[in-house]
Amino acid sequence: MSELTLVQAVNDGLRVAMKEDESVLVLGQDVGPKGGVFLATDGLHAEFGEDRCFDTPLSEDGIVGVGIGMAMNGMKPVCEIQFQDFIFPAFDQIVSEAAKMRYRSGGQYTVPMVIRTPYGGGIRGGLYHSQSGEAYFAHTPGLKVVIPSNPYDAKGLLIAAIQDPDPVLFMEPKALYRAFRQEVPDGLYTVPLSTTATVVEGEDCVVYCWGAMVPVCKTAAERVSESRGKSIRVVDLRTLMPLDEEAVIQATRECGRVVVVQEAPRFCGYASEISAILAENAVDSLEAPIQRVTGFDTPFPNTLENYYIPDARRVVDAIEQVLDY
């Protein structure tokens, strides 16, 4: 066991996966001797050498396109896109190529590849170092989307993603990179993809969240428990695609009141999909309309980012609203 931050857990996960399987390699901008702009790949170049951990040209479609080629030919590349905001030049390679290769070749060619990328606000990164684009990717058939919210899950989910036979977009909440430490087992373990985690037990209302919103929702749930004497469940979705829909429907049936929280803009966001799934499958269990707490439908601001990102007070208000309905 070691006490690690989330970014250290990512680093440890990469190291363990690379030790375990020599076809695993890491590529991206500044991931080599520098160890990545957030130090997620720190020390890997020294330990595994230039063939296994290397810097690339400043070319996101190249990083993903080359990664796809390597994956089709026996390697397990872990590509780093320095900020999720810079992933869009690679959108074609991700959406048209990686996600569709198995399907369009009848299973003859597959892309066991992970694309790691830090996402989300809270670091005063403004428009282009803060976005939460998970909905673009969860909408794409053939692509898995995974978002950890703590160091233990970050390592276990990352190793599971690397072992997965399909392409996985692994979005890391950069606001949580160094927010807290947690006991993380040494060596190899996995957290299975497509499983949710109940991070706070409760039965009067359920809050669905992922990534950087999980600690925010935990705080909100605790506050409402204290102020109202109600028990609020918090469920961390962890894998957005493929989602464990049954778990979400079941928790909704048990709690009857639902809040969905995301940092991303509201319109057509992932919270909307959760709301729709529950409207279709669990409306008979609902005792109040579903509430979404989200970022606003604006580009991500800089100076006033704290008013954009959902905070515990906004989540508390939404929980109280569904409780009082």
Binding site: V66, G69, A71, N73, Y103, P242
Partner: protein
């Protein structure tokens, strides 16, 4: 065309050093070119008669694909192709019936009827990567495939093909740049057929050639007469040799002409000068190579005529066989999205089958739901 690598001129006369290969190799190349045209002609007829929805004319570019294919060792080399490359598959023994299965999108189609016609993908007898419709995306992928070979210490090479239009797409630039930086064993083959649908080369680039674009990436560029199969064979052989030796990538520009439309949905008479077509008809790659083989005593009139007839019959037989096969089962739509089909797709699959079977749609005369 003096700046072009050329071995036989348009009358079939030797103007360069003929590659020293067995007579059989010449005949295999010629047969593949003739079969490529026969396959193309059959596909055009199938589309015009409404039997398949779409095709991509290959007329006029046969020497590019076949000359390049003949330079590969498919036990270790891969191909990351674009969509105008029938000759590579036919040269290397992909059966026309399997290709026709993709044209028809039937249950035997290697892509299980999921792609449009012409978007082939094969793992055997060669690694012929699944063709994409977005242009140039295969180029960085080819570099990745080659880098994996290099990492494992293998001496394979990757041939990636694309048209002149694709040199404007980002994948070309990323791929060329990476290949230069990493010295990857990649052969970039630009099929300059002079048209990107209706847009001619002068609307594509201000460069004096496509080959010259290699210079910016530190990748040597070669211009080749793309209607001269022997020149193509020589240029790609040299590039593959360089790749195997660890000397890195090469960019080859094959200068040719697309004798048909971009696709069956295109009417090139709206934008191609008929005089230009006549000019290129006089440079037909098959006529030229045939003349060479006759002059060299490798092929005679009778054998040539037989070979052409056989190719026509072969493609008709393949088309009939593919046409007779049923469409894929409906549940196949939901497979191969992921290795393991997740719950939501199982649900959608069951819904889809139930919806269409219970309403009598897709039910045959015996009342069965064969899908």
């Amino acid at each position: 065309m003096s700046d072009l690598l050329q071995i036989i001129d348009r009358e079939g006369n030797k103007v360069g050093t003929v590659p020293r290969v067995k007579k059989e190799v010449f005949l295999n190349m010629y047969r593949a070119m003739v079969r490529t045209r026969a396959f193309d002609d059959r596909c055009m007829k199938l589309q015009r008669t409404g039997k398949v929805g779409f095709s991509v004319p290959n007329r006029g570019i046969e020497a590019v694909s076949v000359g390049a294919a003949a330079a590969l060792d498919i036990s270790k080399d891969w191909v990351a192709p674009h969509y105008r490359d029938f000759g590579i598959m036919l040269y290397h023994g992909v059966s026309p019936e399997r290709m026709m299965d993709t044209m028809f999108g039937n249950e035997a189609d290697s892509a299980v009827g999921r792609q449009m016609p012409v978007h082939f993908s094969f793992r055997k007898p060669l690694n012929f990567l699944s063709i994409s419709s977005p242009l140039g995306t295969q180029v960085p992928q080819a570099v990745g495939i080659a880098m994996a070979m290099k990492t494992r210490g293998e001496d394979g090479a990757v041939l990636t093909t694309f048209g002149d239009g694709s040199t404007s797409a980002s994948g070309f630039h990323s791929g060329m740049n990476w290949a230069g930086v990493f010295n990857s064993p990649t052969v970039f083959l630009c099929q300059n057929n002079q048209w990107a649908i209706s847009c001619p080369s002068e609307q594509q680039t201000k460069s004096s050639s496509y080959a010259i674009k290699g210079e910016a990436y530190g990748v040597p560029g070669v211009r080749v007469d793309g209607n001269d199969v022997l020149a193509m064979y020589r240029a790609v052989s040299q590039a593959v040799k360089r790749a195997r030796a660890g000397d890195g990538p090469t960019l080859i520009e094959a200068v040719t002409f697309r004798m048909g439309g971009h696709s069956t949905s295109d009417d090139p008479t709206k934008y191609v000068d008929p005089e230009l077509v006549t000019y290129w008809e006089q440079r037909d790659p098959i006529v030229r190579f045939s003349a060479f083989l006759h002059a060299e005593g490798i092929l005679n009139e009778a054998a040539d005529a037989t070979l052409r007839e056989e190719a026509k019959d072969e493609m008709l037989t393949a088309a009939r066989a593919a046409e007779a096969k049923p469409v894929p089962v409906l549940t196949s739509v939901f497979e191969d999205v992921f290795e393991e089909t997740p719950a939501h797709l199982k649900k959608q699959s069951a819904f889809c089958v139930d919806h269409y079977s219970s309403r009598g749609e897709g039910v045959n005369e015996k009342g069965e739901f064969p899908l």
